[in-house]
Symmetry: C2
Subunit: 243 residues, 2 copies
């Protein structure tokens, strides 16, 4: 039975971390809210968010249905899917470590989103531009470099020379690291290139993921939604600055 991915149509957002894993695995999946027909579309997405309709309603998309099992929260979805898609390491300790890195990438994603919504998600960017300018300045100067230093240190010390984040093999963590780098390059091109210059292993990892045949095909397909200013990573030139 096909996996069913429920996420907002029109943006990559957090759903993209799940999509990349499904695509790299060549898994059969339905992108429910982007599909038309009975039980599909945005209505189906919204119905799955209410405790009146489902046993385990997510607070927010994305969530995934696999037969009777429904799971939300991006990192939890990947914790569940990773082994099934052969995109997780073997053994509890390494799986927990992969999950820990994924949760840290999720923290970075929250901070990236915060740069254009520091006051709150209930207001438009246009209603919080002065606050966003200050938040983005901090994010560019302090946070991107700090997260990249950590990721680079894992690649330098942890993987016995392998180009992957966990246990010397490709996992969903690598796909997510690629996505974070891609998103930051879109949103903060100057700051991100400057930080990547000091994190060559991370830059190489991102390039290797982009060159995986299935990922390359996916990125060139219509299934890959273009980055835009509705998603997590937004290109507002005033929030980036020349390095």
């Amino acid at each position: 039975m096909a996996y069913e991915l429920y996420y907002w149509p029109g943006i990559q957002g957090r759903g993209e971390f799940v999509r990349l894993a499904l695509e790299q695995a060549g898994a059969d999946y339905i992108d429910v809210a982007r599909s038309e027909g009975p039980g599909l579309g945005i209505t189906a997405l919204m119905q799955g968010l209410s405790a009146r309709n489902v046993t385990h309603p997510s607070f927010a998309p994305p969530y995934l249905r696999d037969g009777d099992l429904v799971v939300g929260q991006t990192a939890a979805i990947l914790l569940y899917l990773g082994p099934k898609l052969d995109l997780a390491p073997e053994g509890e300790a390494d799986r927990l470590w992969a999950h820990q890195i994924q949760l840290t990438l999720a923290d970075l994603v929250v901070e990236a989103h915060n740069t254009h919504h520091p006051v709150g998600v209930g207001l438009y960017y246009e209603d919080q531009k002065p606050e966003a300018a200050r938040a983005a300045e901090q994010f560019r100067a302090e946070r991107i470099p700090k997260f990249f230093r950590w990721l680079e240190s894992l690649l330098e010390h942890g993987a016995d020379g392998a180009p992957w984040m966990v246990a010397g093999r490709l996992s969903y963590v690598d796909l997510s690291a690629f996505q974070v780098v891609a998103g930051l390059r879109y949103a903060f091109p100057h700051a991100t290139e400057a930080a990547l210059n000091k994190a060559p292993r991370l830059a190489a990892l991102a390039a290797q993921v982009a060159a995986l045949p299935r990922i390359r095909d996916y990125l060139n397909s219509e299934r890959r939604i273009a980055f835009n200013t509705e998603g997590i990573f937004r290109q507002y030139p005033e929030l980036d600055s020349p390095a």
Copy 2:
């Protein structure tokens, strides 16, 4: 062998979610950074954060050592500890569900922290007070009620009348829900009471957790650090407002 919890001394912070589980289980643990002696104290905490010293360095505290295994990220620590402490449900689906709720509580914690640090963690609150005032207003008006509605709906529809969040039994999720309610009551007393008035099951759950004998003893002990304005939940009266 005793569990070793590594977290900043002086604040409850994210470490508290782990402490509550260890305390409720009556587990043998060392609060490393709050202890003195060889291999203890803040130096030990800092050493465990570098890839030069350990195989799986956390990006930030808390992290837990259990023999050879080291795990960071609060929700991942509880995912690991829950079954060992008999504070997790049985079965993969319910354990994943408990983890999903925990990750959503973690999202709420991030947003609570953001109210006093909307511009960035690298600046003091005093350097971002206007931004914080706007962020707190949004958080009080929109986010606390939304998260509480979700938690209340789980208690209403999910648990067959049981007062606990998952599978009709006490789990680490209940302890964390209590902690979030306690922290929000400290930081935003007016807004939180108003939201709890509309979430009676959540209020009852928090009261039941506080009345568990081991939790009650812990809360009355010196091991429980008082809430203060260095932690995640901070009482700045200007960020709360009469309901």
